[in-house]
Structure formats: C-alpha cells, structure tokens
Amino acid sequence: MGTLILQDGTVIKGNSKGAIGGYEGEIVFNTSMAGYQEILTDPSYAKQIIVMTYPEIGNYGINDTDFEADKPNLVAMIAKNFCAHESHYKSKKNITYYFKENNIIALDNIDTRSLVRKIREFGTMSAFITSNDVDEDFIKQKIKQIQKFKTNSTLLNEVTCKKKYKYNSTGKIKLAFLDYGAKQGIIQALAKRDCAVTVFPADSTAQEILDRGYDAVFLSNGPGDPADYKYQIEEIKKMMGKIPIFGICLGYQLLALASGAQTYKLKYGHRGANHPVINLENNKVMMTSQNHGYAVKTDTLAKYVRPTYKNLNDDTLEGFEISSMDVYAVQFHPEAKPGPTDASIIFDEWTNLMKRNLKNVKEVEYEKQSS
C-alpha cells in the first residue's frame, strides 16, 4: 500500500506498482488516452508526479522505439489501473517492470477522477509520494515539508545533455539546438526536414553558437518555471536579431521573457493531447499536444511581437512571432508524441524559413571541420 500526500493535507492510499521509496514533486494531470510511454520519458515532467486521467494504463507494454529521452525524469505516475498483462507485438516489458527498473514510484487503484478534480479546484500542488504505508506523524511532518517544495534553475542541469552532440549531420540546414530537456520527437522532426542538428547543453553561451555560423537556433521544451532561468534568458537576448530563433514550450516562454514579456503560472496547466489552438491568421483550429504549467501574459507582449496562436479553451497565448528579428515560437508541441500530429506543419513552415537563410557552403564546411 503506497501513499500520496498533498500540500492541502489530502492523503490518498493506493497499490504500489513501481519502485520502492518516496519523493517530493509537483502533482499534475495528463488527459491523453494513449502515449504513456512518451509521457514517461518527456523530460519536461522532471520533478513531477503525473496523474493519468485515462484509467487503463500500460495496455501495450513498453517498447524500444517510443521513448522521448533515454530515461524518465518524472517522479511518479498514478493511474486507476496499471495493466498486468500487456499485449502488443512491439512490447518488450510490462510497465510496472519499467517503473521498478527506472526508480519511478507508481500507485494505482486510486480514484484518479476525484484527485484530478482536487487539482483542478485547488490548482497544481506539491506532494509527497511513497511506496509505503505511512503513519499520521509522518504525514503531518511531510505536509509541512512539501509546502516549501519549489524547483529552481538547477533543474535544467538534470535534463539537458552533458555535452554537445550531432544528429543527422548530413542535413542541409545547419541548426543549433539548445537542449533544455528536449523531447527526441522534436529533434527527429527537424532532422526529417533536412536539418543537421547540433545539440547544445543548456548552459552553452550565445557566443559559441553565433561564432559557428549556424542557419538558425532552436530552443527546446523543458521543465520548471521559465522565470528561474535567468542565465538562459540573457544568452537568448544576445542572439535575438542576429540569427533566426525558433522555440517550443519552454523555449517559447524563454523567448517571450527575453523579448520583455512576462510569464505566469497556470492554475493547473495544460497537459493532454486534445488542446484546441486557433491560428489567428486563418482561423483554422488544430488539435495540439500540450504540456506546460506556465503561460505568457498576452498583454505584456511588446508592440513588435505578433500573437500567432491562441488556446480556444482558455484564450491563453499559444504562439507569437517577431518577424523583424526572425523569431518564431509556439507553446504547444508540434512534434506531438503523444498526441495528434496536426501541428507538424509548423515544422514545415519553420524549416522553410530556415532554408531562406541558408549560409553559403564555405561556412557550412567550416562548421564541419570545427566539430
């Protein structure tokens, strides 16, 4: 019997199906009905406890191909039921086995719907989750402790790559990719569209990127509060206007902050595969995959920043561009994984923009030598 303790004092018991131990984290919910393997390995979930609203999780097991990162970064997963007998030709292992292998706490047989309702009404909470049955004293002490839970800028160190590496070096577009905890799906989507992606750690400087003559810079998704990442914001500022910059999710939020806008924490975030986003230019609606707890305040955007997308559920800003500086960014995840692939056209649009800026061959050659 495992235990979940919430910041508001709620204590919920469930069956422990994962690793042994206990962790603090922020509790959030995801409404995707398929794609738990992608969610498990999305680095943006670092330090979070994910409640899956769909009740049957683990049905098709864990396979070798649907990972978004080498390892999971979330703390725990909660569901109504983790599947005991998975079935799929690609499956390599049972999900509970994966939990144990990767030190993830997992609880099931939980009234996830009531839990989600609590989160919806209270807002995102911090929580403590353990595989153990714990006593009253422990709970009292933990509640006090988790009130203080807060991530900080060091979170990026945990999810970024340790050193620079290349992906698809034969691509025509030379792209510098800042890894704030990137999903593989983004890198793959870019590589598929003829990008030679050089992936940089999150603490890389603007200078080292600008010096090497890339066609564009790409800022990845990632976990945490964007306002914590002062260093990254400063480095982005240094690049703006000098090279085209594209951003997704955290990358988008950092670009907004760098352009002088403000971000704020959403009550319970957007996490799921069914978020309607309207293109403000042609009024077409796309179903998008989303995973973010913070949003950009529309009314703090500078005059030269043009909003491009809006969420139809709560009217929050979902995209902007600064054409004068060749900056383009969206809050949602065009790479999907999991979720509908409607928005993948954004990668087409962006890589077409990047192609416009292709440097001459000589510089490309230089880049090859220098790496």
């Binding site: 919910f29 409404t31 995707s32 009905m33 398929a34 794609g35 393997q37 992608e38 609203t53 769909y54 009740p55 049957e56 049905n59 098709y60 396979n63 191909t65 649907d66 109504k80 039921n81 599947c83 005991a84 007998h85 998975e86 079935s87 799929h88 030709y89 690609k90 009234d111 996830t112 719907r113 009531s114 989600v116 309702r117 919806r120 799921g272 595969a273 069914n274 978020h275 309607p276 309207i278 042609n282 009024n283 077409k284 609606v285 796309m286 179903m287 139809l312 559920n313 999907a336 994984k337 999991p338 979720g339 509908p340 692939t341 409607d342």
Partner: protein, 1071 residues
C-alpha cells in the same frame, strides 16, 4: 458564420426501423431539428416512420409522415420551397434519396442546396470505384479489390487473389447482401445475392484481411477545413464481423500512441480529401504485427457508430454536424456539456463497452453465424471506470436470464469440443471464450483460435479467475468491494459464494456515481450524465437540486423485435412532461442509439443496465417521489414487482393491477366479474396439464408464455403433435411463470390505446387490424379510424375499456386488444402500460397521450386535459400502419406471419380515404407497383382455400397471371379461375423468374409451422433474397390488391403535414 439565407430546411429521416438502420437516426434527426430550431430555422421533416420522436410536431415545424420516395419528396419540395436539404442525418436511406433527387434535377430547379456534405463527396465515399481512386490519389491503402457487375468478372478476380474474399454490395445498408466466401460455392451464392440487392447491381470483391484489428474513427470537419476526431473505437472482434455485430470498446485499448495517431491522421486526411462538412466515420483494418493498415470503409454521414461515439464521449455529433451544415465553423460552436469550445477532442476517464443485441433468442431457427452482414436489432452500452467493470455491466445490460459470463450451457461441453466450437463466430462466442478460460486453456492458444487480441482475453480471464476466487475465498469486505468494482452483481456473488444477502449488506459498501463530461474532469460540467462505480467518490451531490422532487423514468433497454423505438418515444415524452410539471426527471437506460440517452433530455441521465440492482442503486441515491414503469416496455414492467417488494413507490397503475392482467387466473376472474367475454383459456405449468387443457378447449388453440415481449414463443397449434413442439419453448420463455393455453378465435382483431386517471378514460381512437386474429398485432397492418366496426360494437369496446380501467384503477396508459367474432366482442389482452401504437395514435389524433398520462399519474383529472372523456371524435384522415421486416438480414427465418412478432419497424400511410392510405402504406413499406403485370404465384393451404377465393378472383380480374401449385390449381379450376399449374415448387425455375423480375409477388399461406424443409418455406426465403413480396395472409394480399387498384387508376396522391391532415376535417366540413 451561419448562412443567414437559410430560413427553411428540409430534413429527410431514415424511414422504418430495420436491421442496420435503427433508432440512432431518430436520435440524430431530433438533435438536428433541435439545433435548427435553436437557430430559428423552420424545419420541414419527412419520415415514413410514425414511431419516431422526430415526427412529433414538437420537434419540427412541419412534419410529413409520408413515404420516402423521390416522387413524394419532389412534391414536398415544390410545395415547401426549402432553401436547403440535410441528407446526412437520415442514414443510407436519406443519402440515397438525396442522390436520386439530385439526379432528377429537382434540387436545381427549385434551388435547394444540399447542406453540409455535398453530393459529389457523398458519391466519392459511397461509390466503390470512385472511393478507391481517391484513396490511391492521396496514398491511403485499401485492400486489393475490384468492382464487378457480373459473376464472370468476379470469377476473374478470384483467380487472381484466391479465397477468402469479402463481397460488399454497393449502396446497401448494414452491408446487406454481403459476406465472406471461403470457397466457390459460397462465392457463387453471395456474389449473386449481392448483385441482386445492390440498387446499381454492383458488388465489391475484396481480398479478405480477416484477423486484422478493426478500428473506427469518428471525424468532423467544417468549411474552414478544421478537422477533429471525436473518438476512436476498437472492435473486440477482429475484422470479419460487421462492426454493428461486434463487441466494441472506446477508446481503443491496444493501440500505441503512434498507431492511434497514424490512423487518426489518415482519417483526417480522408475527410479533407472528401471535403466532407459534418460528421464522418472511417473504418480501418490494422495488422497485429506491423504498421500496415487499410482503409475499409467511409460513411460520409452520421451513423450508428457516431451515435455510439456521441454517447461514449458526451459529444453530440449530429447536433454539431447540423450547425456546420448551416455555415458555422467548429470554433464558433460551444460544447454544451462544459461551455468551452466544440472544437476539441473529448478525453475519456472511463471505458465504454458496446454489445449488440441479436434476435436469435426469438428466432431459434435463425442462422447465428456473424459475418459482414449485420444481424443485430439493437445494442447496449455500458460505462465503467475500468474495462472489466464496463464489460461486466455491458453483459448485464443484455437483460438475459444469466448475468455472468459462465454457466451459459457451455460448461456441459467436453473441453476439446468447446475449443472446436470456439472457432464459430456467432453471438455466443464470448461466453464460449469465458468457459474455455474457466477450463484453464492457454490465452495464446485461445487467441490463435479466435484472433481476439490477447489483451481482451486476459481481461476476460481476470473476470473468470475472479469468479473462481469468489467460490474459494471467504467473502469479506475487501473481496466484496473488489467484486463490485469489477462489476459483479450481488445476485451473482451470492450464487458464487453462498453468502446471504444480509452478509453483503453488512459490508455497507456504497455505490457512487461518476460523470461523463467530455473532458476527463479538466473543466467543470454543466449537463453531464452518470454511471456507477465502487470505491470512489460520488459526484452526484453537485448536480442534484435537493429542493426539487424527482421522478425516475425507466427506459426500455436495447431495441429488439417487439420492443422498439416507440418506448423511447414514450420515455422521452414522459421525461419532458415531468420537467414541465416542475419535477426533476431521472432517466435510466442502457441503449446508446436512442434519444432518451441524449445528455439533455432528462434532468439527469444514468447510463446503467436495466437490472434491478443497478436501478435500485440509483433510486437509493436519488430518493425519488416514485418510479414510472409504464413507459419502458416490458423491460420496465418486469422490474415493477421487485421494486415494489423493496418498498419503492411505483407511480401510476399499481403493481397489483399490473399483476392482475398478467396473471391468467386473476385476469379471467376479473373479466368474468365485469361481465366481459374472453376466449376460454387455462394457465398451465406442465405438459400433461397443457395437453388436457387443449383437449378441453378444442383445437386450434393459442399457446403463449406470460410476461414476455412481442409474443415470444407464441403459436397457434392445431393438434397434439404441434402442441408438444411449441409448449417446451413456451415454458423456456416463461421462466417461473405459467404458460397460457387459449381457445383460438379467428375473428376481426381490434385494438385501442387509452389514457385514464382511474375514473375517466380518454380513448383517442380505435384501430382495426387488416389481418384476422392469429397474427401478432405488431406484425399486422392496422387502420385508424376503424372502418368496419359498428356503432354498437364501438360502444361496447369503450364500455369494456372503461370498466377495466376503473376496476383496476389504471393510472396512465393502457392498451386493450379485442376480437370481434360473429358480432361478439371478446377481450384478449390488456397491457397496463404504453404500447407500440401510442406514438401513432398521438400523432393521428393530435392528443399527446404520454403528456396526459403523466398528468393523470400526478393526480390531475383526465377531464381537465381538454379532450373530453370516452372515445375522441374521429379524424377525417385515414392512416394505415404497415409493419416492416428485416428478412434480408436474417437467414433461415420463415417470413410467415404468426402470433409471434417478427417485424422490426413500421411505416404509416396517411390519406383522406382508406384506399389511398393503404396504397401509401405499401409505397412507404417499399413495395413496388408496376403497370406491366407479371405472374403471381398462389399456393394455399386447405384451411384457407375457401376464404381466399374472393381475393384470387380479384387477382385475376386485376390482370395478374396466376401460377398455382397442384392443389390450389385444382381448387381454382373448380371455381372457374384460370391458372397455370406448376410442379410442386420448381424452386430453380421460380428463383430465375424472381431474379429476372418476372414474378410480381407470391401468395403462400403456410402449412404447419417452422419446418424449414418444406417447400413453402424455401420459396418464401428465396423471395426475401430477391425482394419479391410474399404474402402469407390472405388479408394482406387482399389489401395489396386494393392498393394496386389505386395505382392502376393513377389516382393522384396528396402529400401534406400531419397537422394539416388533421385540420382538413374542418376545412372539408366548411366546404
């Protein structure tokens, strides 16, 4: 934005309920009409089906209950001048009609726009060749196939591809006429049948991919090219069984995100390529060991699947499709459950399981094998927090005698025999599978045999294993809770554990109700609906107005023969009137196809099995003022006794009165006391008792079980042998109740529906059946107002009805059936509940019977309803109800009319005179009239030869050429009617005649019973295949000849709204 030019729109309904096209289109049509009314658009509705809610004058501004023919619709278009036409909500029928109307040029001539999806798109999706080409253009894989119009071409394809091959006829509903052929013989039969049934004589022959996963997507697109998928669904049965006959789960369970999105993207690509505006259904086959998939089918309209998807998610597909059709884009429309945008994809936090309801319990001789041709008459849906609970609840919802997966008779089989039978794909396979798991067989091996995904087999194994555990372990609170979470009923737990009811109660385990809110709790919901769960927090408190009293309406469960859409009409009306009267209406039902389970019909909807435990659980939470059992057919009535025993108040007619009419002895005494004649009869509990009863009454006698739907197991028998054959079946249907043996009176059958407050009675009208007694009232044609009943007898009918109503203190609706023989009136049946004819009577007389019934039940006097008391004045219109059958879908079932009901739906012909109404009824029923008179085959049994003589004379006089079998020929010869004698049924020759259209119809009165070897049965069966009418009652044949006369005289028909037909009376009077 909305197209403001649209002021008046024509909506075409789907016609009579047949297998493959059922209540889902009433649900869709009503949603459409309501959506249009919301926009202040005038709706002109045309549908021949009088039992529907959409043909209610409250739903559309102008209601035409008229035949769904090109001629009729053209006239209505000329008269009404609508600016637009919506054809995508009335099933295949409406779609085909729209295509035909377009072809005639009338739409262009009168400037009627096809709204939503246009004709070109419809054609591209429906025409196999165009569709295949389009799929190739956009690079979407379809299985290797070819369109053929001749058997020779089909053979060439076979040479190339090899068996098995799937055959799908073009433009038929529910895949009728199709099938899978595994050898030349089957191929020959199915291809020929398919070619004959396709209106364009085309079939698609296709490489079979049986065994692939079958996945469906419901997609919506607007004019701005925004596309969303509402839901995907996975068939538990792999490809090979029609999706309407499959166990289905939503959302898909065994697909990875990549597979889910691959198919979603394909569905979106297809709907874009087809330029559909509105809802669309795309079916895929997905390989179980690779990414390979095929597009199987696209339906460019709302469908049974979209109704299911709507109910499974809370997303009203038909409503949104309608808004799109009149010009809105998705982002401009609101999701009525949450108030957020309709441009989103629902997220589920529960699992939905659908199980079809087949008519095989009724047609025991029928072919139960399932394939590409749909056979189910209805379906049920269950919602649970886990697959196991949803699945268990779904099985409970079937309303069968056993609620569990085991002990279905297969425990008697040796294991190897069971495994052999397991490869049979029929309606009982899932129960064989459960038994095989109980026997300890390996999951992989069972997968090899059934091709059902291991995931589902493992889940069923969990349930089976748990029921084994229940028999072994000591039942404590935890184990009990686990059982409840898994969906076990107390009844089953008690059986398995031998625990007492008190023990279970001592655990104090409370049920909770969760909500369907389209968004997995992400947003707060305004109008959700409920399903039960255990061990979780109840959400009901947030949605119940404690200051208001509520009343529970019990629905009628799945559509089946004998219990159809008419009870949904009654339940919906009851619910609406309760709300009008200031109550909260609480609806309980398990049927996803119907309007009663739409999210905003009742104040609160519970999607639960119509089982006593589930119903009582709801009642305990709701604490209603009382429960209404008289609107939900036999399903609801059957719960009355158990509810009453638990001290739950039944509103309206009391349980004692209900029992008084069902209990033969009590009923007999009652009629005696009231001095009302009845056929003599005896209730028997054993076979010897039955034999002596029959002897006493004299053959022929009528054998019937009590407390059953639609005359199940009912039969007229002429001797001891026949009695012995039927009595066993009758006992089986009766359960613990006795079987009734009645004297059979072959007279005029008369029927009336009444609404009463226990003192006064209002009878909107009296109907007279065309077929003499012995044909189930649901299968006989019936005329309103009665044409052949004397004033004197009318008075007697009213008098009897009043006496019965008062004596039993009936409150609400009541239906009485009479026989008039030798000018004497007998009462044969009293139903203290809504009947099949309530919607018809309400419409033809303009008296909303359910509304008045509700008021009477709530204590208001009938006198205050404003229609007076006694028999209401006759309308000047004449209406003829005509039953419609689904023979083409069901193999090996004798289409002979009998006391047991066989029809699935009905149409109504309305006109100013009886003859014209009769003609319209046949037209609406799909009968073809032709000025080139062909041959008619006549074969009469000895019993009715004399009675048939006038009819045969008329047949000859009307210019038909008579072919007769030996006995009939001799008989006609004697009576100077020329006929050509044919050898004792030269089946092949006749078949060829039918195929070539050289046989107009068949009159064949059956010899005894259900013997499938007899030639008459064979001829009738072949006639079904070729759509040649075969009449087994002389009376129906006579009526058909009368209708033919109207056709021959070229008498012009009028088409008008039901409202005007009723009003005409006054106009005619003034004239």
């Amino acid at each position: 934005m909305k197209n403001k030019a649209l002021k008046k729109i024509l909506v075409i309904g789907s016609g009579p309920i047949v297998i493959g096209q059922a209540a889902e289109f009433d649900y869709a049509g009503v949603q459409a009409c309501r959506a249009l009314s919301e926009e202040k658009i005038e709706v002109v509705l045309v549908n021949s089906n009088p039992a529907t809610i959409m043909t209610d004058e409250k739903i559309a501004s102008k209601v035409y209950i008229e035949p769904l023919t090109v001629e009729c619709l053209s006239e209505i278009i000329k008269k009404e001048r609508p600016q637009g036409l919506i054809a995508t909500l009335g099933g295949q029928t409406a779609l085909n009609l729209a295509c035909e109307l377009d072809k005639t040029g009338i739409l262009k001539e009168y400037d009627v726009k096809i709204l939503g999806t246009d004709i070109d798109s419809i054609k591209k999706a429906e025409d196999r060749e165009l569709f295949k080409n389009l799929m190739q253009e956009i690079n979407e894989p379809v299985p290797e196939s070819e369109i053929v119009s001749t058997y020779d071409d089909a053979l060439k394809f076979k040479e190339r591809i090899g068996f098995p091959i799937i055959i799908r006829p073009a433009f038929t509903l529910g895949g009728s006429g199709g099938g899978i052929a595994r050898n030349e013989e089957e191929y020959d039969l199915i291809v020929h049948t398919g070619l004959a049934q396709s209106p364009i004589n085309q079939v698609l022959v296709e490489k079979s991919i049986a065994g692939f996963k079958e996945i469906e997507y419901e997609v919506i697109r607007d004019k701005n090219d925004t596309c969303i998928t509402i839901c995907n669904m996975e068939n538990i049965d792999p490809i090979g069984i029609h999706t309407g006959d499959s166990f289905v789960v939503a959302p898909s369970q065994t697909l990875t995100n990549n597979e889910f999105q691959m198919l979603r993207s394909s569905a979106v690509k297809i709907i874009r390529a087809l330029k559909i505006e509105g809802g669309c259904n795309v079916q895929f086959a997905l390989d179980t060991v690779s990414n390979q998939y095929y597009v199987i089918e696209v339906n460019p309209r709302v469908s049974r699947s979209s109704a299911l998807a709507s109910k499974a998610t809370g997303y009203p597909i038909a409503k949104i499709s309608t808004k799109i059709a009149i010009g809105y884009t998705l982002d401009e429309i609101k999701n009525s459950i949450t108030g957020t945008t309709a441009a989103f994809e629902p997220a589920l936090d529960y699992v939905v399981v659908k199980i079809p309801k087949w008519p095989f319990d009724k047609f025991s001789s029928g072919d139960r094998i399932l394939g590409t041709k749909m056979k189910a008459t209805g379906e049920i849906m269950a919602i649970g927090r886990t697959f196991n609970s949803a699945f268990k609840k779904a099985v409970t919802s079937l309303e069968e005698r056993f609620c569990g997966l085991l002990n279905r008779g297969f425990e008697k089989l040796e294991n190897n025999e069971l495994l052999k039978e397991l490869s049979i794909q029929d309606d009982r396979r899932i129960f064989r599978l459960a038994q095989a798991l109980f026997n300890g067989n390996d999951v992989d091996m069972l997968h090899q045999i059934t091709k059902i995904d291991n995931w589902f087999i493992e889940k069923i194994k969990e349930i089976v294993d748990f029921s084994i555990a229940l028999t072994k372990e000591i039942l404590d609170k935890d184990l009990y809770l686990k059982a409840k979470e898994m969906g076990f009923l107390d009844e089953e737990i008690i059986k398995l554990t031998n625990a007492s009811k008190e023990t279970l109660e001592s655990f104090n385990t409370e049920v909770s109700f969760k909500i369907v809110d389209t968004c997995a709790c992400e947003f707060s919901a305004k109008t959700p609906y409920f399903y039960s769960a255990y061990g979780e927090k109840c959400e009901l408190e947030n949605y119940k107005d404690e200051a208001k009293e509520n009343i529970v309406v019990l629905g009628s469960g799945p559509i089946r023969i004998g219990q159809g859409i008419e009870f949904d009409y009654c339940s919906v009306h009851a619910s609406m009137e309760l709300t009008n009267q200031g109550f909260e209406a609480v609806m309980i039902n398990s049927n996803p196809e119907t309007l009663s389970t739409d999210f905003d019909i009742a104040t609160r909807l519970y999607f639960e099995p119509m089982n006593i435990e589930n119903v009582v659980n709801i009642i305990k939470k709701e604490k209603p003022k009382g429960v209404l059992v008289q609107f939900g057919g036999q399903t609801a009535i059957n719960l009355a006794e158990k509810l009453d025993a638990l001290g739950i108040k039944i509103l309206g007619t009391s349980l004692n009165s209900i029992n008084a009419v069902e209990d033969r002895n009590v009923f007999e005494k009652l009629l005696e006391e009231l001095n009302i004649p009845q056929p003599k009869g005896v209730a028997v509990k054993s076979i010897p008792e039955a034999l002596s009863a029959a002897k006493e009454l004299n053959y022929p006698v009528l054998v019937r079980p009590s407390y059953v739907i639609g005359g199940r197991g009912m039969q007229v028998v002429y001797n001891d042998d026949e009695l012995l054959t039927y009595i066993k079946e009758a006992f089986k249907f009766s359960n613990e109740h006795p079987v009734l043996i009645d004297q059979y009176l072959e007279g005029q059958e008369v029927e009336l529906d009444a609404v009463t407050d226990g003192h006064d009675i209002l009878i909107p009208g009296i109907c007279e059946h065309i077929e003499r007694a012995g044909v189930h009232s649901g299968d006989s044609m019936s005329i309103y107002p009665s044409q052949n009943i004397s004033r004197k007898n009318e008075k007697i009918l009213v008098n009897y009805a009043t006496k019965i109503a008062r004596r039993l203190n009936i409150k609400g609706l009541m239906n009485i059936q009479f026989i008039i023989k030798d000018d004497k009136v007998y009462v044969i049946e009293v139903n203290p509940r809504a009947s099949r004819t309530v919607p018809i009577m309400s419409k033809v007389t303009g008296i909303d019977m359910v509304e008045i019934a509700i008021r009477a039940i709530l204590g208001k006097s009938i006198r205050r309803a404003g229609y007076g008391v006694g028999l209401y004045k006759k309308s000047n219109l004449v209406s003829v109800k005509m039953p419609v059958f689904s023979w083409q879908k069901l193999n090996r079932i004798d289409p002979a009319l009998a006391p047991e009901m066989k029809s699935t739906g009905e149409v109504l012909g309305i006109e100013k005179t009886y003859k014209k109404a009769l003609y319209k009824a046949f037209l609406a029923g799909g009968y073809k009239f032709s000025s080139s008179k062909q041959r008619v085959l006549v074969s009469l049994n000895d019993h009715c030869k004399q009675q048939a003589l006038p009819m045969v004379k008329r047949l000859f006089k009307q210019g038909f050429f008579i072919m007769a079998t030996w006995g009939t020929h001799k008989f006609l010869e004697k009576n100077a009617i020329p006929s050509k004698m044919i050898e004792k049924f030269m089946i092949d020759k006749l078949q060829k005649r039918m195929k070539d259209g050289r046989l107009s119809f068949i009159i064949n009165t059956p010899t005894t019973g259900k013997n499938s070897q007899n030639a008459g049965f064979q001829i009738r069966t072949i006639a079904q295949i070729y759509g040649v009418p075969s009449f087994t009652s002389i009376d129906t044949a006579s009526a058909f000849l009368k209708a033919y006369k109207v056709f021959d005289k070229k008498t012009p028909l009028e088409y008008d709204t039901i409202t005007n037909y009723r009003k005409k009376k006054f106009l005619d009077f003034i004239r």
